[in-house]
């Protein structure tokens, strides 16, 4: 019992270092700057919601939010669909070059992004895709492809072949077998991919920062960081509010889907 209490105490201390910075941000986002400078440990005397309005309207968070939503949604649906379809071909069909491509996908999983940063920038420049949604979405879809295809492949490959064969005897074509019979059975893996892609794209900073020179195209991660570097112009309160706005969706999704989240991340790491 004593042992268990000591262990709990240690874990609680670390939990505090994880949680307190976030609570701190929420508290300061509800204070005036004078209040913040005077005492950052206290609860706000009166809750000030103005900081959120300043961030949303003056600091353009409304625009950033719209951009992030659009880019995340399209990258999520597009990226996962692309992986599912290819995963089926890799897992359940035989074609020339299948093994080679599979090995290639596995090899590129560890290419560090600085190598691709500059050439992708110039490719998109030559295609006229800088400062566009498409210029962000393309690389984001590509970012899930190697791991996503491999995960979907093993998910489809693990389904017994008899399932598909009996469907074909009943007169289902290849595509209908895929869509009606096998696809529903891989939903857990699809959910994993959705979570990985959602958190990856929503929080992505480096590419969104390099690809967009126009503030109208910023995602919230970039917009928030830009605003924080001008904290003396906007005031600290709106910066704190901006951080809350940026994180709240991800945290909400995490708390709601906690079980799936943990599973998704460990699967992505161990199998991918």
């Amino acid at each position: 019992m004593a042992k268990r209490s000591i262990m709990t105490l240690v874990v609680a201390l670390f939990a505090l270092t994880s949680l307190y910075p976030l609570i701190w941000v929420v508290l300061q986002s509800l204070k005036t700057d004078a209040d913040f400078f005077a005492n950052q440990w206290s609860l706000p005397e009166i809750f000030i919601w103005d900081n959120y309005r300043t961030a949303w309207e003056q600091a353009n968070f409304a625009t950033y939010y719209k951009n992030t939503l659009m880019v995340t949604l399209i990258s999520l649906v597009g990226g996962v669909a692309v992986c599912v379809v290819a995963g089926y071909a890799f897992g359940k069909m035989d074609f020339v070059g299948r093994k080679t491509l599979q090995v290639m996908f596995a090899l590129v999983l560890f290419v560090p992004s600085p190598v691709l940063l500059l050439p992708v920038f110039f490719i998109n420049r030559d295609l006229g895709l800088l400062n566009t949604y498409a210029g962000m979405i393309g690389p984001y879809i590509c970012s899930i492809v190697p791991m996503g295809v491999l995960l979907m492949r093993s998910s489809f490959a693990s389904l017994p072949n008899e399932l598909g064969e009996s469907a074909k005897i009943d007169g289902c074509g290849e595509l209908r077998t895929f869509y009606n019979i096998l696809l529903p059975l891989t939903l857990p893996t699809i959910a994993t991919l959705c979570i990985l892609q959602f958190i990856g794209v929503w929080s992505e900073y480096m590419w969104a920062f390099i690809s967009n020179s126009s503030p109208h195209m910023y995602t919230i991660a970039v917009g928030m960081a830009q605003m924080a570097s001008k904290k003396y112009a906007y005031g600290f309160g709106p910066v704190f509010a901006g951080m809350v706005i940026t994180s709240v969706v991800v945290i909400a999704v995490y708390v709601l889907l906690q079980k799936y989240f943990v599973q998704a991340l460990s699967e992505g790491a161990v199998k991918g």
Partner: protein, 301 residues
């Protein structure tokens, strides 16, 4: 099966992998080739690639102090992450595994630093490290340690340490998650048996649990290396690699040489040199895993 049908089936397979291959080729294979090509030119970002310099950029990179500084900072960051972050993560995972009170609740909370966007963490910690209004200096003052106060991010002596601290804070949850998953897979009766044999807690960890987790730890090391050399947000937002290069890492150096100094060919050469180092590190760990597996098989026989 008639030949026509088989060909049709092949075509369908290619049609199904086409979208994935399209993005894969356009944004991974092609850029990689383009990066190799650009590294051989002196290119300021305007017009076509014209001034061919052969391996000149690489030769310049080998003589560039900034490259060595960035690599050494990045390696320090990596070693700190792999030792400190993984040790703490293991400790927490082990405690959760042994069963602390309210462990479900802790499981959710401990994971938060990994969930919030890295850009947000970077801004939060910049404010915590802020010399006058920052939480850290105020805490030190309140604890009677006023002389310990620092200009954390502004002083080259403490800046790298501060950035690493945040990186550790950020990476603990992920390491913990993977290690906990591996702990839960260890057969319970093995641990019970070692207790009956008189092993105490720490000896069980050292002789039974750690050896069994070695493959996971190795895998985690490979993931860590890749991530440590990918990190950009945290350094860029907190210090932009400064002051005087004290927190420069591979990605920020490539960004600076390229987008700020407009030496895109040279930046690509540096990026490729980083890539080679990372691949060598990952390869070395892969070899160790193979060795270890080989030995295990032999000892089992």
């Amino acid at each position: 099966m008639p030949a026509g049908h088989a060909i049709k089936k092949q075509m369908l397979a290619y049609a199904m992998i086409f979208p994935a291959m399209f993005f894969f080729t356009l944004y991974l294979v092609f850029p990689f080739a383009k990066s190799l090509q650009m590294s051989l030119y002196d290119y300021d970002g305007v017009g076509k690639l014209e001034r061919f310099v052969g391996f000149g950029n690489f030769a310049k990179g080998f003589g560039d102090l900034r490259f060595y500084e960035a690599m050494s900072n990045n390696l320090i960051l990596m070693i700190a992450e792999m030792t400190i972050s993984m040790s703490i993560a293991f400790l927490l995972a082990y405690f959760l595994f042994r069963g602390v009170f309210a462990w479900k609740w802790f499981n959710v909370v401990l994971f938060l630093p990994y969930i919030i966007p890295l850009a947000v963490s970077a801004v939060i910690w910049t404010l915590i490290f802020e010399p006058t209004i920052g939480m850290l200096n105020q805490l030190l003052e309140a604890a009677g340690l006023a002389s310990w106060r620092q200009v954390w991010l502004g002083d080259p002596h403490t800046s790298l340490f501060s950035v690493i601290l945040v990186w550790i804070w950020r990476t603990i949850p992920f390491n913990m998650l993977i290690l906990l998953g591996s702990l839960l897979k260890i057969p319970k009766d093995l641990i019970e048996a070692s207790k009956i044999d008189g092993c105490t807690g720490i000896r069980t960890v050292w002789h039974i649990i750690l050896p069994l987790m070695l493959p996971t730890i190795m895998l985690l090391s490979i993931i860590s290396i890749a991530n440590d050399f990918r990190s950009f947000d945290i350094v860029w937002i907190m210090t932009q690699g400064g002051p005087i290069g004290s927190t420069e890492i591979a990605s920020t150096l490539v960004y600076k040489i390229g987008f700020q100094e407009n030496h895109y060919g040279y930046a690509n050469a540096i990026a490729i040199m980083v890539f080679v180092v990372v691949t060598a590190l990952v390869g070395a760990i892969g070899l160790i895993i193979r060795r270890a597996n080989g030995q295990n098989e032999r000892s089992e026989r």
